[in-house]
Amino acid sequence: MEHNILIASVGGQGGVTLSRIIARAAMRLGHRVVVGETLGMAQRGGSVQSHIRIGGYVYGPLIPEGRCHTLIALEPAEALRAAGYLGPSSTALLNEAALPPLSALLGEEPYPTLEEVVQALSRIGCGVHHLDAQRLALEAGSRRCLNVVMLGAYLAYLEAERLGILTPEAAEEAVRETVPSRYLEANLRALRLGYEALRGTL
């Protein structure tokens, strides 16, 4: 078995924390795990990609071209940057809420709509599901829970596909282990909201 997850995000959205949660949950279940991160610099606002690789002959930190199974995009346009890793057997889970850079806000550069992103990914052949994770995160208590909303959505996807990569119990344990205690309640709500939101659409 080889299962490759790519998390695409904008610095400050919690993509790296999400990769840590998933890796811890997978390790808890006895899987072999390797995580590769393009951390770059400490600022907020740049593109960040985390590669989580689970399974037998996984040694390197990078997903080989076209071998990503699940793309979790915390920002819709960031999903496009992962195109090289995607193929007809990939599935993309997108947060709908966009974070356009300043040049796009001022109308100086184009910024793709959600429909354009979905269409571009579909053309590669991958399945696409999307949800308004930002709204759900705010509902859970803080926008900082956005990453865990997407984890909940990922669990719903795994359940629907009958993939035993993670269990809800292991994921919840890993959330408890990783997030600061003052945000724990909000994050557990976020996990549930993300799960329910995606399950409702599958």
Partner: protein, 630 residues
């Protein structure tokens, strides 16, 4: 409990740099000292977090050379010391390191250097394996977190047994990769400080002594070269039935190769040699492989270091294999390797495709998706004090009637360089730590008669900016040194700098003020301003630009991310929709990530992102933005 403090035999999920830190503990390191630099910084950070639970001193030095100086003194006294740095950091440390190679180290001395193929951190793709040729020092190159940990333990043993400093090298992909590591035992040997005067070993005062030391260093390497073939970091695998083709790999390329051979079941077809010791090379294993195969592929990122050495060794044996790598164009010398690139090269060696040909329409769909992805230049963080500095600098230049191109801003290393991006468009150059000031002096000597501002951060100033500042004072060079003093080494992850007032382990330290130091160096005209106060900062720049002598403007305000971490409560500002005319001057001038556009076309502030720096309130022409004092 920290992940790295597990018991012997436990399995932990560790990042490459955390594994290096764990290795240091298992090797009885008493001191870890370095200068922050991506991708090496997490080693000291990790050790600093456990320093109060285990007897290890972890700290940041002013620069890499000072770090190696300190580590050397510690080693001379009989203790084990680790020094850490990024690729270019080794250039700074090399003066000491090349000299120390001639002396016998006593306690083990290991230098960890993290290179950056792919230039993820935005500097040169310097291949430090070549430093072994310059310094003669031994080096181990690692390919995953487990090996990184084990290599540190091995390096300390070898360093102490042979009396020579060792280098452990990784790259970004290894340093920042997380994998499962089986922990070894944490050793603690009782040591007592003991250093005896022996000038024939510890000084270079006589040419005869130097030559003798040089001879001894060569002898140490010769002795080491007889051991490396037996070390586990070097592994030769020849399939039972023999093989016509072989692959030599080191570093992360080894991980990509293993994956390829596993995936396609090729271990029985290809002989492999994993090279872990870059110097000395495992000569016996290399020769055995070259005698076995007819064709050989070399997998190594950046320069053809192994390839050249293999070709040199091949010239000494009778039946030479054909060697493929970078020199015949099979693989690139620029950028990092990828798993699919390695797959392709292995396929080429075998003479057939390992994976089906890429379908044209799939390629095209990927290209179109990538083209649709918007550019996302790194912005300054919300509340970044540099935003105030660069805005005030622009305002001052405009009020003095200097248009774009009428002035020069030399930039430096760190977050301060982000002033080069729109809307500031300020830094013109980025060379090396502290270079902004010397470049300014040189431009002035060349007859450039525009205002010249050297923009440098506090940590960078103390690292290598003080000597050029002294030079400017000495010769009266008309350069304005803008010290963007955010009280921390920010870009690498907020490690303390001499201005911070605390140490790596959170202990108290005396904050050193840049203005005081610059004054002592002979810069007589110095202004101190708060970059959150645009008027004050602008006036300071105007006066400095007009003073006609070497001058400095020190802009003091703690990094906004550090302020948040210190628990200083943010005071978000808000936009009064009635008064906002939608001119968007705030967005255009400041490019703050907390600012965006409301559906009605007016400015909007995100309360979770806004730190309350107040710059937008000072910019707004209609007074539509309100909030408390920052």
């Amino acid at each position: 409990m920290s992940e790295i403090l597990g018991e012997e035999g436990e399995h932990r999920l560790l990042m490459g740099n955390e594994a290096i830190a764990r290795g240091a503990l298992e090797a009885d390191v008493g001191l870890a000292v370095g200068y922050p630099g991506t991708p090496s910084s997490e080693v000291i950070q990790t050790l600093a977090r456990v320093a109060d639970q285990i007897a290890v001193r972890a700290e940041w030095a002013v620069n890499e050379k000072v770090a190696v100086d300190i580590a050397t003194g510690y080693s001379y006294a009989g203790f084990r010391a680790l020094a850490t740095m990024k690729n270019a950091g080794l250039n700074v440390a090399s003066d000491t390191l090349i000299s120390v190679a001639y002396s016998d180290v006593r306690g083990g001395l290991v230098v960890y250097v993290a290179d950056d193929p792919g230039a993820h951190a935005g500097m040169e793709e310097q291949d430090n394996r070549w430093f072994t040729r310059l310094s003669l020092l031994p080096m181990i190159d690692v390919s995953d977190p487990q090996e990184a940990k084990d290599a540190v333990v091995l390096a300390f043993d070898l360093s102490e047994e042979h009396g020579v400093p060792l280098l452990v090298r990784s790259t970004t992909r290894v340093a920042h990769m997380t994998g499962v590591v089986e922990l070894g035992a944490i050793k603690k040997v009782g040591r007592k400080p003991d250093f005896k005067r022996d000038v024939r070993r510890y000084t270079r005062a006589s040419p005869m002594w130097c030559r003798e030391q040089h001879r001894r260093l060569n002898e140490k390497l010769e002795a080491l070269s007889h051991r490396v073939d037996e070390l586990e970091v070097n592994r030769l695998h020849i399939p039972d039935g023999g093989a016509e083709r072989g692959v030599v790999a080191s570093g992360i390329s080894w991980s990509y190769l293993r994956e390829t051979l596993d995936r396609y079941g090729l271990w029985s077809e290809i002989a492999t040699l994993k090279v872990g010791t870059i110097n000395p090379l495992p000569r016996v294993l290399i020769e055995r492989l070259m005698e076995e195969v007819e064709e050989l592929l070399v997998l190594e990122e950046l320069e053809p270091y192994l390839e050249l050495h293999l070709k040199a060794l091949a010239s000494e044996i009778e039946v030479r294999p054909e060697i493929h790598g970078k020199m015949d164009g099979w693989l690139p010398r620029v950028g990092e390797y990828t798993p699919e690139g390695v797959e392709e090269a292995v396929g080429r060696l075998l003479g057939y495709r390992l994976r089906e040909e890429r379908e044209g329409h799939l390629e095209e769909a990927r290209r179109r998706a990538l083209k649709l992805a918007p550019r996302r230049p790194l912005p300054l963080c919300p509340g970044c004090p540099h935003r105030g500095t660069y805005t005030a600098m622009r305002m001052a230049l405009r009020e003095l009637s200097y248009g774009d191109g009428d002035f020069i801003v030399t930039g430096d290393i760190g977050c301060t360089i982000l002033g080069m991006h729109p809307p500031f468009n300020l830094c013109w150059t980025e060379v090396s730590m502290g270079a902004s000031i010397g470049l300014g002096i040189g431009l002035r000597y060349a007859g450039v008669d525009k205002p010249i501002i050297a923009a440098i951060g506090d940590s960078t100033l103390f690292h290598a900016g003080l000597p050029p500042a002294l030079n400017a004072a000495w010769y009266g060079s008309r350069v304005v040194i803008a010290v963007l003093d955010n009280r921390v080494t920010a870009m690498t992850g907020h490690q303390p700098s001499p201005t911070s007032g605390y140490t790596a382990t959170g202990g108290e330290a005396r904050p050193i003020e840049a203005d005081g130091v610059l004054r002592a160096l002979g810069i007589e005209h110095i202004w101190v301003a708060d970059p959150y106060n645009l008027e004050e900062a602008k006036e300071a720049f105007k006066e400095a630009l007009g003073c006609g002598e070497p001058s400095a403007v020190v802009l003091k305000r703690v990094c906004a991310l550090v302020a948040r971490r210190l628990g200083l409560p943010p005071q978000p500002h808000r936009v009064d929709g009635e008064r906002c005319t939608g001119c968007l001057l705030c967005l255009r001038t400041l490019a703050c990530p907390a600012l965006s556009l409301s559906p009605e076309g007016k400015a909007e502030i995100d309360v979770e992102t806004c730190t309350g720096c107040g710059l937008c309130a000072q910019i707004c022409p209609t007074g539509a933005i309100e909030g408390g004092e920052p």
